[in-house]
Amino acid sequence: MTVHAIEPSGINWSKRKALLIEAAIVAAVALLLIFIVPAVLSGFRLNLLGRFLALAIVALGIDLIWGYTGLLSLGHGVFFALGGYALAMHLKLQIPPESSIQLPEFMTLYGVTELPWFWQPFYSFPFAALAVLLIPAIMAGLLGYLVFRNRIRGVYFSILTQAMTIIFFNFFNGQQQLINGTNGLTDFKTLFGATVSEPSTQFVIYAITVLLLVAAYALCRWLTSGRFGRLLMAIRDDESRVRFSGYDPTSFKVLVFAVSGALAGVAGALFTLQTGIISPKAMDIAFSIEMVIWVAVGGRASLVGAILGTLLVNFAKSLLSEQFPDVWLFFQGGLFLLVVLVLPDGFVGLLRTQGINFFRTLIGRRRRSSTYPSLEEDAQVQYERQNLGD
């Protein structure tokens, strides 16, 4: 197997082939989700699936910053909410022209007579769409720059992100007049003239969610493969070694944190469209921690794991809380304990390490033991294998 790798053309060809196969699988799954699944699932379940797929985008972001770069962020709820609010503000400005008051209805309740200045640009959809990406990215980038430049790492970074969550939560809660405080923004009417709550509109939003998830996956895949991705893992495994090799880890971490924040923003916007509400609850600490659990369950440093973990935990959550509303939280806690104690690499990690052997036992072939390549060529070892068994 090493012989392949020494020959450069050999790697390129097999790498490209593997990439093509992967792209084909992703495309097939996307088509399946868009065209087949809606025919099978009821409208309610489909809407749930759409929401969970949106959540999978933020899980990809967390995987990027935690699984690959080793920075445990417990504050992605903030970026998620910022994205959600950015789009919700655009939705709240879809006021029919014949209406006498050209303001979101909650503002009139609090005696606001003129649209606040920062709401003005959200009339434009392109602006709102950019804001969904850029506001969380810039927030994350700024915070990241301040934190990483001062070499704050590990648990201190996690605590800081939690503190940020609390600050934002309280701030958004307090702004009754400007963004409707605790109640959040809800009761969306139209988007591009289509009624948001209409099933056909929801289906389009679902399809867009699938496509954006594919795009997010492709982006993360690109970032984590190649030299950049290897550098992220190097930062995770030994940051000062990276520094003494001449790289500045700060800029890499800031970039990844910003990308991760932007992904959370996109997820928040899509989630808001499908649930019909965004409120400061999204900045609840518990929600940010839940996100981390999805990734942990699926498998850190595995993009597919992040997506599958999100779907698995959330469907379990909705099924269990329908049947036994009291049990869910215990189950979630138990699941997290199980993963931490037994499956440190999550379910995908388990499949990766044990799956091949398990599969080979199933089809009746011998387990493949991992050895040094030189052993494969060692005549003595081969002889013993053939005559004495492994």
Binding site: M1, T2, A5, I6, P8, L223, R227, F228, R230, L231, M233, A234, D237, D238, S240, R241, R243, F244, S245, G246, Y247, D248, P249, S251, F252, L255, Y372, P373, S374
Partner: protein, 260 residues
């Protein structure tokens, strides 16, 4: 190359009043291989820390190729041409030796270039060459976690060389190695010394004798004496602080017997 590659004058590093380095003076010619020894706590590792920018000096001058390193962050010092090997092998365990070397070999280490630039074939060739030098060709594509201690040491030295630094700082490269591996590392360092300036910190006296022609002894944060291995071993001050205690666990023959 000629001239001084490293000049240190009056350098003091203190941690909460404790002077890990105390008015240290040190200079080294380009192309030299220098071994630094000293008892535990003499400030050897701090000495490397201050050169690589990990700790900042409180007082004094630190010139590398005539350039003051005092206010430059670590990664820039590394780019200027100082490579450091840590005491315990520090390689990226989840990457293969080839990937480890490629990361160090990368010429343009800013974010954008790392993200968008393809690895040029010249770098690939350098990496392949290095894998041969450090004798890891057959394990080039296994994750580094599977390497033995000695192989990791060699890989880390390879990573240093991949940076193509002018000055290599090597901290106890043979700690915990077998005699055979020790000799291999010694040969590797001697080969590298032909084209690099190297500072080696070491405890193992056999090993020091194998590679050193000039030795600097540190004691309590300053240079105690400098000279060839023989001169140093016969210096009464060195004997007093370091080599002279017969019960000490250094593999040094008793001083009164002829050495070599």
């Amino acid at each position: 190359m000629n001239g001084k590659i490293l000049e240190i004058e009056n350098l003091t590093v203190s941690f909460d009043g404790f002077r890990a380095l105390n008015q240290l003076n040190f200079s080294m010619d380009a192309g030299e291989l220098r071994v630094v020894i000293g008892p535990n706590g003499a400030g050897k590792t701090t000495f490397l820390d201050v050169i690589t920018g990990k700790v900042k000096s409180t007082v004094g001058h630190l010139l590398f190729k005539g350039r003051n390193l005092r206010s430059i962050p670590e990664h820039r010092i590394a780019r200027l041409g100082i490579g450091r090997k840590f005491q315990t092998p520090r390689v990226y365990l989840n990457l293969t030796p080839r990937e480890n070397l490629e990361l160090s070999c990368n010429r343009n280490k800013n974010v954008v270039a790392t993200l968008f630039r393809q690895t040029p074939s010249s770098e690939r060739r350098t990496v392949s060459g290095l894998l041969e030098t450090i004798d890891l060709v057959h394990k080039a594509d296994l994750t580094a976690a599977l390497l033995s201690h000695g192989e990791k040491q060699r890989l880390e030295i390879g990573m240093l060389v991949a940076q193509s630094p002018d000055l290599l700082l090597v901290d106890e490269p043979v700690a915990g190695l077998t005699d055979e591996e020790t000799e291999k590392i010694g040969d590797l360092l001697l080969a590298l010394a032909e084209s690099h300036s190297i500072i080696v910190i070491e405890h193992d006296m056999e090993f020091v004798r194998q590679i050193a022609n000039k030795v600097t002894v540190l004691h309590q944060g300053s240079v105690l004496c400098e000279g060839s291995m023989d001169e140093v071993q016969h210096d009464p001050r060195v004997i007093e602080v370091y080599l002279g205690t017969p019960e000490a666990d250094y593999s040094v023959p008793p001083i009164h017997e002829p050495i070599l």
